[in-house]
Structure formats: structure tokens, C-alpha cells
Amino acid sequence: MIERSYDVVIVGSGAGGGTAAVGLVPLVEQGHRVLVLEQGPRLADEEFTGEELEMAEALYADAGGFLTADGTMTLAFGQVYGGSTAVYTGTSLIAGPHVIEAWDIPGLTHTDVTERSRQYMDQNNVHLLEPELINENNSLFQKGCEAAGYEAHQFPINVKGCLGSSLCNLGCPNGAKQGTDRVQLPAAELCGVEVVTRAEVLRLEERAAMVRVSEKPPSEKGAPSEWEPGEYRVSARMVVLAGGAVGSPALLLRSGFGEHLPRLGERFTCHPALILVAEHPRPITNDVGHPKSFFVDRADEEGYVLETCMYFPFVTAKSLVGFGEEHSRFMAAFPRLQMILVLACDRATPGNRVTIDGAGRPVVHYRFTDEVVRALALGTRASARIFFAAGALRVHAPLASPTTLGAGEADRIDERVRPEHFTPGTVSVSAAHLMGGCAMGRSERDSVTDGWGRVHGIPWLRVADSSLFPDSLHINPYLTIMALADRTAEAIRLDAGELLAAGAEAGGGETEVAGGGPAATA
């Protein structure tokens, strides 16, 4: 076991970890040592090839195929330098006031979230894509919305020098997307924050992280770790969890914090989504240009959000229900396909939670509530109207039986698309907005942290990621994650004098410490 010692250790380098890293630079300037541990690799620019399978393997946990406990939903989250910011499309929305107010977290106001979000919009070059760069997959959505009576809004996105590869979800091959891998982490590293990749945190002990640094397999992408492969005990006066809504609660659970924090793992939400596909009579520009320019927000009225999207051959094939001739016909029409993502705005529900298995690996339990299934059906109906209004010939609707709707059935959409056609395990449902698990709240009776990411009763332990969300956000979450991580960093800076000095008096966190756990620190 190799011993290392730092003042602050951040676990994870995504929207939360990257923001926390840059937010703690003032501590580095005061002479403190800050370390970021990232489980995934650090890729060189030329390794982003846009090849679907090899990039999914390199950038996503389980190559993008992480399944919920009953196997009925795929959860996609990044495991790479920059976390999920390396694989999102960069859509940047500020959380709505009603959502933050409904969270009812003491000290957390919508004004504060907005101001902090704006700061990162500026840092990450968020703007509206120029009209001439919007492809037909997106412009047809806008046209269809106008014709069908839906209000389409344009997504602000965080790109700089976007060439329109359409490959955002496979990591931008041109370094145009301004995620934490391009902005916050390099800035933090330049100021002295250390980032170690291929470093998996196995468990936490009292003011320490037990870490396994892996060797780079010869056939895999990415650089070797900055540290020699092996087992490390990294002592830290403070630990900041930013491993995401699956990783952070799972790490706390396998470290034995569950007894002290009875709400750990609860309030998991994820905006379950269907990828819908429609065929037009002519080829459209779909696999060139930024994939996500517009959305329709019907969260308050009908519980769903529609977004433009464009996926790759394997993911598209997986999203279509069934097999055989009908499946192949849609795939063979790829240059004529328009796509819409239907996201259900789910609510925190008892039983939907993160646990761990016997080996300490995360297990996500998720049951589709009637409200979620209804929202997916309503969103599918709206999408079908938009597709047909835009001129599509036929629509693949997983919640219809049979699943193909022809243009001649445009007046029978409500009759054809029904919630009762939703069959878990047959319909491909995926989610990439993973939230909750270490929810903010008032005390350990209702939550895991306070409104500043301080874990209840454990002053040296903080959270700075989407696991803080006490309920779903109804929009793409990364700006809000950055806003909350910024608050966590601010609280650490405020508390640092006392906590880091206390650690120093106790021996600088460098001596051998046994077990410990939450009870010792509560």
C-alpha cells in the first residue's frame, strides 16, 4: 500500500468535479494540495475518432450499457477525464425557478443558481448556434413544431469552433465542446491542482480514500495513469464526492456510511427517454451538424420534454423495437431519418434508488411509474404529430402496436400510441440525466447533505455533483451541477481555515489511521 497525502481530494472530474477543482484553486494558491481522482482515462485529441463502438468503450461506464437492476433501462454516463461533459451535447439551460423552489432547500435560491450558472455559461462559451449551421434534422423539428402547434426553443450550447461532426456523444473529435475536460480541469491543473486518471476509489475511511490505480491495457485508448499502478491510501483533510448520481452514493454505501445516513441512495431520478425515429421521402442532413438545437418543454403541462437528437447506427438500431424486415427498412433509410428524444420528467419515488451488490458495485433500482409511462406516451404522440407535420412518411413509435405509424394514420395518433403498449424489457429506454442519491435537505432524517454539499454530521466530507439533486430537474442538468459544485467549493473555502488547520493539528492526515467511518466523526 502506497501512502499519499493531500489537503483536499475530489473524487470524479465531470461537471461537478471539474467545477470543484477550479473552485478550490484559491486553496492551492494558499499552499494547500488539491487532488482530483478520475476512474477513467485521459485521451489525446487524436484518439477521438468518432467510431461508435471504440469511443463508447473508451468514454462510457460499461461502454454505455450500464443497466438498471431489472435490466429494463440503460444508463449512460461518462467515465473519462471530464466525466459526462466529454460525452454530452453541451446544451446549457438554467434550472427553472419553480423547480428550485419546489426542492425547498434552505439557503438555495433560484437567483443564486442562476448567477452561478451564468458564470459558467460565460466561461464555457455558451451561445445559440448560428442558423446556417443548423441541419435539417433540427430545422424539420422546428418546422414541424410550428405546423403542429408546439413551441420550439433553441438550446444554447457550449461549443467553440464547432465543425458540425454530429459526434458530440462520442466525444468531440475537434475539441470544440467546452466541457470540464476543455475548460475547468486544464485551468485547475495549470494552477497546481493534480489530476490522476485510471484511479478508482474503492472506499473511504476516516479522512482517507483507498484507491486502485490501474495499468493501461495495451489495446485501450488513453494515456497511462499519472501514478504508478497499484493500491494507494490517500489521506485527505477533506474529501469531495463528484462521482455522479451512481458513483457517489455507491462509494458512500460501500464505505459503510449507510447506517449514519439512512437516506443515502434515495431520490434517484433520471429523465427516462425514448429515441423516436421517422422516415422522410428524401435524404436530409442528419449525421452532419450539431445534433441538438431545439426542444419543446411540456414538463409542467404533460410531464415530458422533447429534444432533437441524432444517434449512431448501433444506438439507433437498439432503439427500434423488434427485428427483421421492418427493423431493417428503418435502418436502411438512415439518410432520410429524423430523430426526437422524448424525456419523461420523473419524480423522486420510494424504491427508485442506488444500492450496492455484495462486491460493492452500484446497483440502480428503477420502476417506471404510471406517470412516467403516461409522459412517454404523451411525448410520443406529440413527436409523431411533429414528425408528420414536418413531412415524414412513417414513424417508429415504440408505444404503438404495431410500432410503425404511417402518414395516413396521422389523425389516429392518440388511438395508436397508448401507455398500455409500454412493455418493460421490450421497449428500449435509456437515460443520461442521472440525479439524486446524495440529496440535499435539512438533516440526515430527510437527506444526505445540506444545501452547501456538506454531508450531515461529517464535516470533512462534501458532495459536488448531480447526486445532490433532491428531485429531477426537468432540463439538461450540467449547468445546475456546476452551480451546485460551485456552492460546495465556496463552502469548502469558507470552512477550510478550521478544517484544514484541524487536520494539520491531527498530524496533517499523513499518519496511519485505522477504520474510523462515519460514527467516529459524527
Binding site: 465543425l163 452532419v288 451538424g289
Partner: protein, 120 residues
Amino acid sequence: MDERGWTDVEERIEAALRNRSPALRRQLCLLIQVLDWMPLLRYGRRFSALGAEARAAVLRRLQRSPALVLRRGFWGLRTLVLLGYYGRPEARRAIGYRADPGGWEARRRTTAGEGKGDEA
């Protein structure tokens, strides 16, 4: 698809499974066994000995099975087959998928080369 194509599909599936848990690989093996023997009562033959039409009928029943474990097993198998098939550059080309890291500029070049003018 020729023999080489099928080998490519199999290799891609094997590569995808290489980093998965032993438990998942065991479940997959079990499911393939179940699938192979399932048609014996109805057709008097194993799945691997059935014709294409009968195979499709068995798979459709599996897909619509009242048992979640069978539906999700079928979904998993189908996902792997689609991964192996559409993971191949030949399959992507065949369906007309043309995404390129060079984006709009690359598309303009390709389209100009095809003599179709500018799409952007």
C-alpha cells in the same frame, strides 16, 4: 453477409463481452441454451436446426413473453447482435451513415465529389 462478415460480427460481440462481468456472461450462456432448446416441444427441433421463419416466430414469442426475465434476455441478445452487425464499417456504409469528424466541410467535399452540390 459472407463468412468473413459473420466472423467480424462474432469478434465484435466477443470484444464487447470481454470487459463485462462473469455473471453477465454466464447468464448469456444460459439464455442461449434455453433459446436453443425452447422450440423442442413445439417444433420437435432445437432452435439452431429451425428454418428462418420458425426461428423468427420463436424470437417474436420470446420478445412478447409475459416473463420479464425472458423479454430482457431477448433484448440483451438482440442488442449484442445489433452491436456486432452495425458496428461494422460495411454495415454503416450500406445504410448510408456518413458522419465524419470533419463535419460540414467533409460533407461538402464528399457531396461535391458525388456531383450533388452543397447540402449545407
